[in-house]
């Protein structure tokens, strides 16, 4: 035989999925929310997203000395996710710094893809938020692009926002977080492809809802439910629960661990929202739970087949 055969370990069948294809799936899933961002916040939203993605991808390509700027697609996802957590019209340099920080501090110092302990986009957002709090809270109303406050602090002052606008996304907020509808649409795609499971988002959103219900101010059942629902829809919980907390690398790998992770995120988010200094706690909550992920994994190793329980 003239051709040499390939010898490798079994199995000899492999799934067609690759890291690149999965990252493309995630980008597709973020597409509806990105469209919503552009629709609501105009060309500034688009510019921010593009700038952030490019800055992240270029940084990664430079560090890894790779010619293909898209690479495995993970930098693009990080960049887009970061852009979605930025306010609608940040200064351009803020966006660029964010992309660089996300890739360098959030990812490459840990050894690159797969090794980052924390969600790179959230690391960058947290650093930006601490550094330039003013720029990071420059909210615009999506209707007329006038500066305004987001629903969460408004609610604290007693101003309510309609559920419909929260669901559609016609409320002030970060570029990608306002439209629950678009986020759910993209998440449905990820569910369909089997890239995320219900445990993290379910635990997260469930706890936010319940804590919103019982600690957000007592009242009649209807009020309590609406407060719970408000907390789920307002702010970054949807984006965080569906896209940030479910980030493979920085979340637990065991089924039980995932549920614990989601619940933990929910509790910390609500603690920050209800009792803390910051109006929103999603970033802190997910970063904190990222930090304890290795411990959660250790503690929740599944019972192996045939293990005799003592």
């Amino acid at each position: 035989m003239e051709t040499r055969l390939v010898v490798s370990s079994s199995p000899h069948l492999k799934t067609p999925e690759s890291i690149q294809s999965v990252m493309t799936d995630v980008l597709l899933a973020l597409f509806p929310a990105a469209i919503a961002g552009v629709v609501f916040f105009g060309w500034m939203g688009l510019l921010t997203m593009v700038l952030c993605m490019v800055s992240a991808m270029v940084t990664e390509a430079v560090i890894l000395r790779q010619k293909n700027i898209f690479g495995d697609g993970s930098a693009a996802v990080t960049g887009l996710l970061l852009a979605m957590t930025l306010p609608p019209a940040p200064p351009w340099w803020l966006t660029v710094i964010g992309g660089v920080v996300a890739i360098v501090i959030g990812k490459q110092v840990f050894g690159g893809i797969g090794n980052n302990i924390f969600n790179p986009a959230l690391v960058a957002r947290a650093i930006l938020m601490v550094s330039w709090a003013g720029h990071m809270t420059g909210w615009l109303s999506p209707v007329d692009l006038v500066s305004t406050a987001t629903p969460l602090p408004l609610a604290a002052r007693g101003v309510s926002t309609s559920f419909l606008s929260l669901f559609i996304g016609t409320v002030p907020g970060c570029i990608g977080e306002t439209s629950a509808f678009a986020l759910l649409l993209g998440a449905a795609w990820l569910f369909y492809k089997g890239h995320i499971c219900w445990r993290i988002p379910g635990g997260y959103i469930g706890v936010v809802f319940l804590m919103g219900m019982f600690f957000g101010g007592m009242g009649s059942l209807a009020t309590m439910v609406s407060v719970g629902l408000f907390h789920v829809l307002a702010g970054g919980v949807m984006l965080g629960a569906l896209y940030m907390a479910t980030d493979w690398v920085s979340s637990p790998v065991t089924p039980r661990g995932k549920l614990i992770f989601g619940i933990g995120c929910g509790i910390i988010t609500m603690l920050v929202r209800l009792y803390g200094m910051y109006p929103e706690g999603v970033t802190f909550a997910i970063l904190l739970m990222n930090a304890v992920t290795p411990l959660i994994d250790r503690a929740t190793l599944p019972r192996k087949f045939g293990e005799v329980t003592k």
């Binding site: 110092v109 601490v130 550094s131």
Partner: protein
């Protein structure tokens, strides 16, 4: 000759912060500005030199078993003195450094030098070692302070460097920035020392 060697070694080659990674608490805590870093560095240097001198002088007197408590008492004495001096002559700096002045006493750099060097070497060498290590420590603290001050305020030693239009990278003024800045500087130092084959 060997005295000079003992003196120079501590500045870069055996730099307490960047090479030995000791004395991190004050390094991170008081380096919000270059000035504070310098102040802390010099205070620590003063204690280090004095304690090295005394330890080296008494090295044959102190029984081996209780040497550590003895060293600590010696160091603590000098720390208390520095504390009082700072309070008297530089009250503003003293307030800035806060609890970290008395905490010089537990700075592992100082105890480490007493244990590893001064207790085994003659007085002159020990003093030189103390000065070298102390200068290295001061250098590290001042550099870190300068970098953090520059990034978080746009100034160095309160002199405006980056202009009034600079949007300060405030995270470097806070605890997280201290960790991150030192981490990055340490990595840079590792890289440079590999390049110049310091090890």
């Amino acid at each position: 000759m060997s005295v000079m060697k003992d003196l120079s070694r501590g500045i870069i080659r055996d730099n307490a912060v960047f090479r030995l990674v000791l004395g991190l608490c004050p390094t991170l805590a008081v380096t919000g500005t270059a000035e504070n870093g310098l102040g802390m560095g010099l205070s620590a240097t003063a204690v280090l030199v004095c304690s090295n001198l005394v330890v080296a002088a008494l090295r044959n007197v102190i029984p081996n078993k209780i040497r550590i408590p003895c060293f600590i008492v010696i160091i603590a004495t000098f720390v208390t003195m520095v504390d009082m001096l700072l309070n008297a002559f530089l009250p503003a700096l003293h307030a800035q450094l806060g609890i970290f002045v008395p905490l010089i006493v537990v700075n592992c750099v100082i105890l480490g030098r007493a244990e590893a060097f001064a207790s085994r070497n003659p007085v002159l060498n020990s003093a030189a070692d103390g000065i070298g290590i102390g200068l290295g420590f001061t250098l590290a603290l001042t550099t870190l302070g300068a970098v953090r001050e520059l990034l978080s305020k746009g100034t160095i030693f309160h002199a405006n460097i980056l202009g009034s239009g600079y949007q300060p990278f405030q995270v470097f003024g806070f605890p997280p920035g201290a960790f991150i800045a030192l981490g990055l500087m340490l990595a840079l130092f590792n890289m440079l020392s590999r390049k110049f084959r310091l090890e």
